[in-house]
Structures are given as C-alpha cells and as structure tokens.
Symmetry: C2
Subunit: 307 residues, 2 copies
C-alpha cells in the first residue's frame, strides 16, 4: 500500500486524522488517534511492555512534559536544538535553509554549519524564494523547543523535545529508592514536542508525538559480563553494514566483532524478537550500523532499525 | 494514613516525586510517576477501559494536547478561564485575590466577580501582603492556559486545559466515520495543563495532570428510552442531597425522581460498580447532587463522586 492509500484508510476508518480540522486555524503537525488507532497503539504498547520492559526487569516511569529551563541548558538543547531557517523579504515565507539550498542548487550544507555558509551559498548561487522569487533575509537559527511561561511571572520552561530528559533527570532518585543494580533499564512512553518548520506526511514528522523510549544504564568496563546474553545468543539478527544486510546469530555478531560487545548484542537480540512479534516482516528489516558522521558525537556505536 | 504519611511512602517507594527536583529552578505543580506509580495507574486505566469503555461500547480517542486558538475562542476559555490575582507592589508576590481576601478578612467574594469588587474589599478592609505587609496593585485576570507559539511566526495555540476539547472537536468525524448511534460515549485518557497560581498538595492541584474523561452524546428527548438501564436497575448507589447520604437502587432513584431520568441513572450505576471494583470503600462514598450555584450554567443536573 502506498502513502495515499494508507492515509485514505486511516481517515475513512478513524485510525487517525488531523487535529482541530473543523477550524480554519488548525496547525500542521498535530494529529488525533481515533478508536482503531488507540486500540492498535495500546496493543503495540502492551507487547513492548511484555517483551522488553517486563522481560528485562526494566523500570517504567511517566514524567512531566513541561520541564525547567536548567534541564535544557544542561542537555544543550537550549543552545543547539535549532534548525537554520531563511525568510523571504517579499512574501515572508520561511524555509529550512539547508533543504531549500539543496533542492534548488543541489549544494549540500550540513544543518549544523555556520549561518554565514548558508548566506554565502544563497548569494553565490542566486537562490530566490521558491514561492515568489523574492530575496531572502540572512539565515537565522530557529530553536525547535516550545517555550511556556510558568505562573504570573512567566518563568521560562519548555515542552520536552525528547522523552529521555525525564529518564536522565529521574535516574538518581530511581537508582537509590528502587535499589537499582546496573545494568538498569528505565523506560518511558510519553509525548514529546518539536516546533518543526515543515511538519509533513501525517505521523512521520509531527510537532507533537509519542516516543516509547528505553535508556539502559551500565558499567562501561563490564560490557561483556552479561549473563542474560545466553537467552539471545542463537537469536538471528540482520545487520546492514555499508550497503549489505547479513543475517547472523547474536553470538556470531559478537565473535566477528560486528557488534562490539555482549551488552549491545543482548539488546539488539531482544529488540529483534520484539519486532518479529509486532508482525513486521523481519526478512525486509535490518539493524543498520550508523557511520561516524551519522551517529551522535557521544556514541561509540549506534544502530538504526529499518524496514 | 494522613497526607504526610502518603507523601513519605510515595517518595520512599518511588510512586511519585517532584519533576526536575535535581535543579534549583524546578517549578511547582509538576510531578513524575515512578515504577510503582505507573503500574498502579495502568491497572486503574485497564479497569476503567474494561468496566466503562468496553462494557458500554464507547469509543476511545487520543487527541493532541496543543490545540488551535479557535477551539478556545469557541469554548470560552480564552475569555473566561482566568483567576483573579493581586500582586504586591513591594515584594512582587502574586496571590489569588479571592483566597487571600477570604483568608485574611473572612469575606467571601466569588472568583467570577468583577475585579473592582476585589479592589474595594482590599481597600475597605485594609488588606496587606501576607508576606511583607506591602500594598497590592489593582486586581487582574490571569488566564490559566499555557500559550505556545507554532512555527517561526509563533502562531497562537494553547495546551488544552481539559481533555474534553478533543472529544467535542472530533465528534463530527467520529460520528460519521464510525457509524455512530446515540447515545454515543467518547472517552479519552490524556494530559491537561493549567497554569495554577498556587499548585499544591502534590497530585491534588497540578499544572500538568491526567484526566480520564468520558462524554456521552445523547438525544435529550429520549432520556428515558434506555434499554441498558435494566443492567443496573438493582445496583445500589449512595446519593447525598443537601447533607444526608442515602443508599438506594438505581430504579428507586429514578422512581423517586432523585435522579431525573434513566439515562443519568444508568451512567451513575455503571460508575458505582466501577468505583467499587477499584477498591474504594463505597460505604464511605456518595454521589453528591450539586446545588444550582455549584453546577455549570449549561447543566440540568450534576453529581460529584466523593469519598
């Protein structure tokens, strides 16, 4: 089924539909789940709880969505969680700088580049507004967090852009009060919020969306001391490195150093078993090892699950 | 167990705890559920789904929390969802006008009164700031909705102050696509947000909180044509009118006109059965019929469940 067919079915059968659609000022990037959507989502979450949270003895929390300014100063989101944008001086439309430049002139500038690089590219390639051919103002950074004012003094706080914030902020209390032992998985299903410049394709790029997130805290010197690894050592996972997807057992993946240690291999193993139970055709899936430029600066290794 | 004991247990066992507590700018009125809290909440919700949603064939939706300005213009929240506040000219502290006046001078002014009534009461009774004895500025209205700016132009939108907004806004599509027939229950469990002046007592007055809400749409001329009423006609409910709580069956409540029709009695009946199954000591509970001044202006009849 292509995207249009999925959308048609979703709207006709009440799986999901745009929020506030009866009003003219309905904003893009907000969607509501109808009865069938809620039912499907709940089934997915029950499986997630059974196959990951309960199986691995993780803790599940449910944190507040509005969090203090300090949290996002510490996480770097206040400074860096921003997209480069350009605004037309004539029609006042706003665009993502990197995407617009790449679409018009095929020049690829990373979104994290200095703003002056975008301005230079626009000038040198005579890039104009795609809507009205007007000139652009200088590029700006647009922070994607939604700000809210708390109390009559409107103290600065933000809607979290990721569910992981609550997990990290709550870790000290949870570790102490719940008598945690490493490795310790903390999970959360909840809403996150990002003020996207161009939300699109219904549930694929939203301004308000659910995340089902797990952070496993571990001792980095003990990544191969993982008794539970035996549970998944014969589980087959598909791993894509560069362009080829290969099937192998978790044990083979560790022995061939495709996966650097038993700790990572164990979690890829239980994830593979989970995804199979969701009904995904796993023969069409793979864990893709991210390249050095793709993964976050703090990550030693990273895999994306792709179908 | 008194409030302090409950709080102590909740903190020690990780049921719930303040959000962002590791930071100095943690805002009041935001809480996180720890593992035991999530587990308890999920059990409650499963019971709610089984005993009310599935039993009555209701539809469950899950709507966006950020909604367009028009929604709150139409609902009246933009104009009227406000508390009267007073600010000290000296120490700049802000207080709820009605509460501060009543605490200091025992004069009761309804929160919906004209602002000039608060100013007059303050002047005539020489009411000063409880913190520093300073004078107050004139009373103001403080809208309790959290505003968020959408996109680079910061178009006005709000975090919903009640979950019912999504239910009402989605009703036309749901009624059509799901082939609804009245009476039709639409349910939602989700977060709501209110910028309270003085959040307090942990989960009792929050700025961000869950609501499990049901709106049943019906034909007002057919409130006694309710076949399903027979399921609950012998269910015992406790109803408090004025100061006395009386136990009676749903049938007796309708016949004695304590409850005006079978429609309302049916829903109080299934709610009574639900609350009993949650483990609440129902002999200490009652449905209290609200007086004319307590209930919303649009309500013909209203009951609060109290324990």
């Amino acid at each position: 089924m292509n995207y249009e067919d999925v959308m048609k079915l979703a709207l006709e059968r009440g799986f999901y539909f745009p929020s506030c659609e009866i009003y003219a000022d309905a904003q893009a990037g907000f969607w509501e789940y109808g009865p069938s959507g809620v039912s499907l989502k709940n089934k997915f979450l029950e499986l997630w709880r059974r196959e990951l949270i309960r199986r691995d003895g993780m803790m599940e929390i449910d944190g507040s969505q509005i969090m203090s300014k300090s949290v996002f100063e510490a996480s770097g989101h206040l400074g860096n969680f921003a997209d480069p944008i350009i605004k037309c001086t004539k029609c006042k439309s706003t665009f993502r700088a990197d995407r617009t430049i790449s679409e018009i002139s095929k020049i690829e500038i990373p979104e994290s580049a200095d703003l002056v690089e975008f301005d230079n590219a626009i000038l040198q390639n005579n890039i104009k507004c795609p809507k009205c051919k007007g000139d652009f103002e200088n590029a700006k950074k647009f922070n994607m967090m939604f700000k809210v004012g708390i109390g009559p003094e409107e103290e600065e706080a933000y809607l979290r852009p990721e569910t992981c914030q609550s997990i990290f902020v709550d870790f000290p209390r949870l570790f102490k009060t719940m008598r945690g032992k490493l490795p310790l998985g903390i999970a959360q299903i909840g809403k996150s919020f990002r003020n996207e410049i161009s939300p699109r394709q219904s549930l694929l790029r939203l301004r308000e969306f659910y995340q089902a997130e797990i952070e496993v805290f571990c001792n980095p010197t003990k990544l191969d001391e993982m008794e539970r690894f035996s549970e998944v050592q014969n589980t087959i996972i598909r791993i894509q490195i560069d362009t080829k997807a290969v099937s192998m057992t978790c044990k083979e993946a560790v022995e061939s150093k495709t996966i650097p240690n038993k700790f990572v291999a164990y979690y890829l193993g239980i994830l593979a078993e989970f995804y199979e139970k969701t009904g995904i055709d796993v023969t069409k899936s793979r864990f893709r090892k991210l390249g050095d430029k793709e993964k976050a600066f703090y990550a030693q290794v990273a895999f994306d699950f792709e179908v």
